[in-house]
């Protein structure tokens, strides 16, 4: 039995599955707009997410170059910045207001638009149907809406960069009262309104996407694809979606209350404030309430960013070690553990807000507990490589880099999760180093591994390997050079979100180190542009695939044609007979057995 699904487009309406041949015929009649713009094909939507995400990534990274210039060389001026930023960088020096706006936008863009939408949107969309054997998402239409809500959210965020008072500037966490009161900062004016609208739309996009991923994984698997035969990528995307669906609504409520406080005179977050020369009428609100609502999403959010990378790294490591992923079930159980605990640790971001110390203790316990499933994953990845036959494709290198970074960043989490240590480290560069390594770099490495590995599936061509290697080594070394020293700055107590340290006796000693970090950051930035160039040129000029399974993989996506049409498989959807990691001798000289191959006589299922 193959699944019957209905694919609807504004000018095509047909059912396919049994009538796949019929489908092929009709496919070619789709108008350009429906095929590439308002497309409902999960593969096209995936590319839309990817390319939008890449554009945002370049913008977000460019912002970091600007503010790193300020941090590294506070006494110099850079006339080129004035060209880009106009009066925000008069005479080539950033104004403090705009410095904070850039930092805020950098965080928002990278956390939400790149590493949430760009990552999960790209790979959940691409791989869920292809790897579970479905013709498309459960609801292709909702899937399309998910992208377009993201697009509109992007437009709002982009527009906010150009309003006269500048974009939001209270940090990516936008804590009120700072973000609630126009008097408190320039960025809390129109820029903040646009930020809120954009984020609200973003939540809608996330929910549409997430619900779709969940129902697709639960309902649309091909014959024989039991849950425990799903590749770990799918498990990871599934839990990512669960995290998002359960936590984004809480952020939404937090944002709505903030909109009310800003515009309709409510006092959810405001109490006893004297600002701009007058006492405000608000009494009885709690500024801390917002932080609870924000971090109830905020912490799961970091795992929303992390899990897809974990899934893809698992897949890439196994494939290129020519060895099954070690501890498949332990990997799933640790994903479950991380997902559950991710909801129970949010207040570790709030140890020093005046929260009850008893509550703090509970959160210490739960936070350090989450290190256990994380450790299990690391050990399983390492053992996957043990006695393997390792092929260093660029994807494999990035997957290994992912593991390296995840270890480094996870370990610093152990300092921060212990409130008695966090009391000194909170809001210093130690936190910056922690989350950039574990979330920023590591998640990006997962994403790069995914892009290099599945580029052939996306475009039917390879990316250039040599550039891939250059990209990997510079980025890997550069990331450590940038973030490793930041731990030291943080341990010395150097606060984050400072525009200039030169007036501080305790912190100005790091001036030359900051300069060094900025220089490396710029080098790494340009290396990423090299990647972008490789990506776009390879779409048109990359070496063509001659074999539909170039990496010798076992999973279903590599059983589709090199250029799969809308519906993925031209004929019947293949049936699945075994788990996804049978990297063993198939008896015919190959070292892997695809999931579609029936068990041989006497062969034991995993």
């Amino acid at each position: 039995m193959s699944q019957e699904i209905i694919i609807q487009g504004p000018n095509v309406e047909f059912s396919q599955g049994a009538e796949a041949a019929h489908h092929d015929h009709e496919h070619h009649e789709q108008h350009f707009i429906w095929k590439y713009i308002f497309s409902q094909d999960h593969k096209v939507i995936s590319k839309q997410f990817l390319i939008t995400g890449m554009i945002w990534a370049i913008i977000g990274a460019l912002f970091s170059v600007f503010f790193r210039l300020q941090l590294g060389f506070p006494d110099s001026t850079f006339p080129i910045m004035e060209k880009f930023l106009g009066e925000w960088a008069k005479g080539g020096k950033l104004s403090p207001e705009f410095y904070y706006a850039l930092v805020t936008m950098h965080g928002t863009i990278l956390v939400f638009f790149v590493l949430t939408a760009g990552l999960s949107g790209t790979f959940s969309n691409l791989l869920i149907p292809l790897q579970i054997g479905a013709r498309d998402m459960a609801s292709p239409f909702m899937n399309m809406l998910s992208y377009w809500f993201f697009f509109i959210a992007s437009v709002f965020m982009f527009v906010s960069l150009f309003v006269q008072t500048g974009p939001a500037s209270g940090g990516w966490t936008t804590y009120p009262p700072l973000s609630a009161l126009k008097e408190a900062s320039l960025g809390s004016g129109t820029g903040m309104d646009l930020w809120l609208i954009s984020m609200a739309l973003f939540v809608v996009s996330s929910l549409l996407g997430g619900l779709n991923y969940i129902s697709t994984v639960l309902n649309m698997r091909t014959k024989g694809m039991t849950m425990t035969r799903m590749p770990l990528t799918i498990w990871a995307f599934f839990f990512t979606a669960v995290l998002g669906v359960l936590s984004f609504p809480v952020l939404f409520s937090g944002l709505v209350l903030l909109i009310f406080d800003r515009n309709f005179g409510t006092s959810f977050y405001l109490s006893e404030i004297f600002i701009g020369g007058k006492a405000l009428p608000h009494i009885g609100g709690s500024a801390i309430l917002y932080q609870h609502l924000f971090w109830f999403l905020g912490h799961p959010e970091v795992y929303i960013i992390m899990l897809p990378g974990m899934g893809m790294a698992s897949e890439v490591l196994a494939t290129n070690s020519r060895k099954p992923i070690f501890g498949y079930f332990a990997m799933i159980i640790s994903l479950v553990g991380i997902t559950l605990l991710a909801f129970l640790v949010w207040a570790h971001h709030m140890f020093v807000t005046g929260m009850s110390p008893f509550l703090g203790s509970i959160f210490v316990l739960l936070t350090l507990l989450i290190a256990v499933p994380s450790a299990v994953k690391v050990f399983n990845w390492l053992t996957t490589m043990w006695k393997g036959n390792l092929r260093f494709t660029p994807a494999m290198l990035f997957a290994m880099g992912f593991v390296s970074m995840f270890i480094s960043g996870g370990l610093t989490g152990i300092f921060l999760g212990n409130s008695a240590l966090d009391i000194h480290l909170h809001d210093t560069y130690f936190v910056i180093a922690h989350f950039h390594i574990v979330m920023g770099v590591s998640a990006f490495f997962g994403m790069f591994a995914g892009i290099y590995h599945w580029f052939p599936k996306l475009y039917g061509r390879f990316m250039n390997n040599t550039l891939g290697y250059i990209h990997f080594f510079i980025t890997f070394v550069g990331a450590y050079l940038i973030f490793w020293p930041m731990h030291y700055e943080g341990i010395a107590g150097m606060p984050r979100r400072y525009y200039d340290y030169s007036a501080w006796e305790s912190f100005k000693q790091f001036q030359s180190l900051n300069g060094f970090i900025s220089i490396v950051a710029i080098v790494v930035f340009f290396t990423q542009l090299l990647f972008v160039m490789n990506f776009f040129l390879s779409i048109f000029r990359g070496r063509k695939l001659t074999n539909k399974n170039p990496w010798g993989s076992t999973t279903l996506e590599w059983t589709t044609p090199i250029h799969p049409g809308h519906g993925n498989w031209p004929g019947e959807i293949p049936e699945v007979h075994r788990w996804p990691y049978d990297f063993k001798d198939d008896g015919h000289g190959k070292d892997f057995i695809p999931q579609t191959v029936p068990l041989r006589e006497g062969e034991e299922a995993h």
């Binding site: 080129i80 804590y175 009262p177 700072l178 408190a184 405001l270 109490s271 404030i273 004297f274 006492a279 009494i283 009885g284 709690s286 500024a287 801390i288 060895k323 099954p324 070690f326 501890g327 498949y328 332990a330 005046g354 110390p357 703090g360 203790s361 316990l365 350090l368 450790a375 050990f379 053992t383 036959n389 290994m400 270890i407 370990l411 610093t412 152990i414 212990n418 409130s419 008695a420 000194h424 909170h426 809001d427 250039n464 040599t466 250059i470 070394v477 450590y480 050079l481 020293p485 030291y488 010395a492 979100r497 400072y498 200039d500 340290y501 006796e505 305790s506 542009l529 490789n534 001798d585």
Partner: protein, 353 residues
Amino acid sequence: MSAFITVALIVLVFIIIYQIAKASEYTSIIRGEEKVKAQTNRTIAILLVLVFILGMYGIWVCHNYLVDKLLPVSASVQGDAYDSMFNATLVVTGIVFFATQLVLFYFAFRYQSTEKRTSFFFAHSNKLEILWTTVPAIAMASLVAIGLRNWLNLTSEPPKDAQRIEIVGKQFNWIVRYPGKDGELGKRDFRKIDDANNILGLDWTDKHNMDDIIAQNGELHLVVGKPVQLLIGSRDVIHDVGLAHFRMKMDAVPGIVTTMWFTPKYTTTEMKKITGNSNFVYEISCDQMCGKGHYSMRGTIVVQTPEEYNAWMATQQPYYAGNNPSGAADSSATPAAKTPAAKDSTKATVTMR
């Protein structure tokens, strides 16, 4: 113009790199792909080893270069406990870090693909999983135990004889209030704030306010060896009292009063000797993003011997006397909602209202 040239140059360099990379792809096809692939694999494995060795060397260099700047000299009794816990955690995580990174890179080199090698089909082992679930769990449990012990100490009631001083943040400086001779901080109300003559909104109907001393220059005077409890407030947005040398930090949140207490160990003069820095000064850094002047929201602490402190205190004038407020005698003023903890917080726990 120069910008244009720079951009053009960068683009040119990119194109050249791309062409070279592309050419290597073609030559590999000519020279036999499998052979080139094997060679590349070997080169990459060697590069990975190099990266590891250089990386470890780099960590060593970086550490030597920065080790003096790591945790600054701990200047509070609580800070000593902090430092020993920090070092314990550093040792545990350090060992795990080196061991796992070593394994990662060693495996990469040792099991690099060769023509002869076939991978070993090894899919799971419950023993191993149990091993590496329980060991981290035990390690975490011990760290939690140390952590909670310290945390409970840090957040415990301050000693009875602790000095109580209020510190209030506003965009972008700190205001410090001492209780004066009566040892009591009077009530204040944000609606009574007037930047000209009542900067904290002291309620002049409360006698305890008459002798309170306010320092607007963000300078906090403490007595060495004497526990101090800070009552922390904010006039506008959230700030944070960050005291790196005392290993202390607490948010200043409008509408509530937060507290922290600690015991300074060294006077400022002593610290100048210890650090060898004649400009040494204890700094209060605002550690919570609070607007465009966040980075300049700097306060200082002067830790003195009791004699020095008393001498300094004798020169201070109560805020009331200096500002002779017009509405002071108006006893019919409606009793407005007060900022409660300013007076009542004999409770020393971190309070959240």
